[in-house]
């Protein structure tokens, strides 16, 4: 028996799953009639009671986020969907939108109705043109069908939906940077408070939710709170997409109840690639401290991963086998954070450059053991000292790789360079790389 629970992914194997006809054939857009027949407060209560938590990384309860929007304030409210998926390893929202953009739109209609918003936005990353096409067509078709625009389904509710393509900045996945970007500025995080629920887009009350969180809403409205709560663990309810990548036989998307373990997912995916063993992995993208084989049975829910010293994050399970140099991995992730630091806060802007320089030396075998302590000291002066979590993410791969693989860092020094052959970790042989 499989432990998987395909809900979002249930119809992805149908060739027209991304069209409005395909979506409706599978029961799509039934939930809006139900939701618009409820009071907005009841919709919020339903989502609160379901226990749905944010699927974009932080895990904040979605219904609570919605309930923070002040009511009766005579201000414009906004729902903004964060589709700027770019955390390294994370690859769930883009295939979801490619296969079924309408489920997001249906969730947006319900969420916007609940928070009394009449204008919603999807901020999609710009480096995925075909996903943008699918969203454009889906929005146009939803307008034509009367699911968007004036007086939706004759229920007296109006909603405009605008698609906004980003332009290649990881930081815009941070919700306040995303809002600045959407307002037409450089995407740099804002100091909080005020939180977006009070002063978000155009300084109006705003909810920012991840794609998968909003896409989960129609199923909850259709099937009810009890159904949703029948999946998952005590504090982490429901189903979610786990994205398995790297040195595994069969990488891909696995939709399962929260709390499944990597051991279970690996079994379903045919295990690590032939003749190799698991060395290290990320539970939720590069900003979440790495795990090793000793964490194979850690429940992959919000609490389980935290208790083991990391974060559930985006559930991006990046798997690396014994051919992978951990210092090279840490260096490459550090180069990413250096590239993506928005430059607003000094510890992150300057610190990420220092981290890369030190790691370059260490990978080349030119470091000393004292450098390892200096590296940790540097991390300590970056994490928690900037506006947003990018700085915290930047140090996570370094601190965690040093925790589990300090001897490998030292081996680079005694060896006078990297002891690994990078070709051994590729999927093709050296001859082809000429």
């Amino acid at each position: 028996m499989s432990k998987l629970t395909p809900v979002l992914s249930a119809a992805w194997d149908q060739a027209d799953s991304f069209t409005i006809d395909g979506y409706k054939r599978n029961g799509g857009y039934n939930a809006i009639a139900k939701a618009l027949g409820m009071s907005a407060d009841d919709v919020i209560t339903t989502i609160k009671d379901s226990g749905l938590r944010g699927r974009g990384g932080a895990g904040f309860p979605t219904g609570n986020k919605w309930s923070f929007i002040p009511q009766g304030d005579n201000k414009a409210h906004y729902l903004v969907v964060n589709a700027d998926e770019s955390e390294p390893g994370t690859c769930k929202d883009m295939p979801l939108l490619l296969a079924n953009p309408h489920v997001l739109i249906e969730g947006i209609i319900i969420g916007s109705y609940a928070i009394r918003a009449n204008h919603a936005f999807i901020y999609v990353r710009g480096e995925v043109v075909h996903v943008v096409r699918r969203l454009q067509q889906a929005i146009a078709d939803a307008y034509k069908a009367g699911y968007l625009g004036k007086n939706i389904l004759g229920k007296g509710y109006d909603l405009e939906l605008t698609l906004h393509a980003g332009a290649g900045a990881y930081i815009c996945g941070e919700e306040t940077a995303l809002l600045d970007s959407l307002e037409g500025f450089r995407g740099q995080p804002r100091l909080r408070p005020p939180f977006p629920a009070i002063a978000g887009l155009y300084a109006m009350p705003t909810v920012v939710n991840n794609v998968e969180s909003i896409a989960s809403v129609p199923a909850i409205i259709n099937n009810g709170v009890e159904w949703f709560q029948s999946m998952g663990t005590e504090k982490s309810k429901g189903f979610t997409l786990y994205s398995l990548s790297g040195h595994v036989k069969n990488p891909g998307q696995f939709e399962a109840p929260l709390g499944i373990t990597l051991r279970e997912i690996l079994e379903l995916a045919g295990g690590i690639r032939g003749g190799h063993q698991l060395k290290f992995w990320t539970p939720g993208g590069s900003s979440t401290p790495i795990f090793t084989a000793e964490h194979l049975d850690t429940p992959l829910d919000y609490e389980g991963v935290s208790a083991a010293g990391s974060m559930l994050g985006t559930k991006a399970l990046q798997i690396f086998d014994e051919t992978t140099c951990v210092v090279r991995a840490a260096l490459r992730w550090s180069e990413f954070y250096k590239h993506e630091s928005c430059g607003k806060c000094t510890p992150c802007r300057e610190g990420t450059w220092w981290l890369v320089q030190m790691l370059e030396d260490l990978e080349a075998g030119k470091g000393t053991e004292a450098d390892l302590d200096k590296l940790l000291d540097l991390c300590d002066n970056i994490a928690g000292r900037s506006f947003c979590a990018l700085a915290d993410g930047a140090v996570a791969p370094i601190i965690s790789t040093l925790k589990y693989f300090r001897s490998e860092y030292i081996a680079h020094q005694t060896n006078g360079g990297c002891p690994f052959d990078p070709v051994a970790s590729t999927l093709f042989d050296a001859v082809g790389a000429k």
Partner: protein
């Protein structure tokens, strides 16, 4: 000068937003769809349309890596060299592309056909190693497939994206889509690749839920 039609499109883009300044990003994509990169005349026109200084527009343009300050190729090749793709072959692929094209990072072939960029994670890790051309997915690349891809691009006949339209569109054409102008191709291409369906297939072959 921009044509009246182009100026009209700019006005339509601005009308999508409650506040005009929000249109700056789609307008920059739109300028790239006409000029191929963010030109001086493009910045001046956006500034005029949004009642901003050219410095304010440039400040935004220079923040985002997809906006180019110099021309790129008709086919802009991005090789993912973030950790997972790099480890699984992205570093070798990047070398392959450099060797085959005779150019480096952020450079364009002399004929203006192909440009190259080292890119960060593009949300397709289950298809690693990944290459993007004009921001379309080329999944599970090998040195052989990449050589075919860049050779085809130089000859003006690149292979189709793995998950995308039947025929690869040019940099300018795809920039227009990013500006919010539909090219009507959303119906082309697969709904999902093999890796996307992996869990669903396992679940179905195991005989259903739970």
């Amino acid at each position: 000068m921009f044509t009246n039609e182009e100026l009209g499109t700019m006005d339509q883009i601005i009308a999508r937003y409650p506040k005009s300044r929000s249109a700056i990003m789609p307008l920059l994509h739109f300028v790239q769809s006409i000029d191929g990169y963010v030109t001086e005349r493009g910045i001046e026109m956006i500034a005029e349309k949004l009642d901003l200084s050219t410095a304010e527009v440039t400040a935004v343009s220079s923040f985002y890596t997809q906006y180019k300050s110099a021309p790129v190729g008709e086919y802009h090749v991005g090789v993912c060299v973030n950790t997972l793709c790099a480890v699984m072959g992205g570093d070798e692929l990047y070398k392959t592309a450099c060797d085959r094209l005779g150019i480096g990072n952020h450079e364009t072939t002399p004929d203006g056909k192909v440009s190259l960029e080292r890119i960060e994670c593009n949300a397709a890790c289950d298809y690693a190693p990944v290459v993007m051309v004009n921001w379309e997915f080329y999944d599970n690349q090998t040195p052989e497939s990449l050589r075919e891809l860049v050779d085809g691009a130089r000859a003006g006949n690149p292979p189709a994206p793995t998950r995308g339209p039947k025929k690869l569109r040019t940099w300018k054409e795809n920039s227009a889509v990013l500006a919010g102008i539909s090219d009507g191709l959303s119906g082309e291409g697969v709904q999902a690749g093999e890796a996307t369906l992996r869990g669903l297939k396992v679940s179905k072959s195991a005989g259903g839920k739970k």
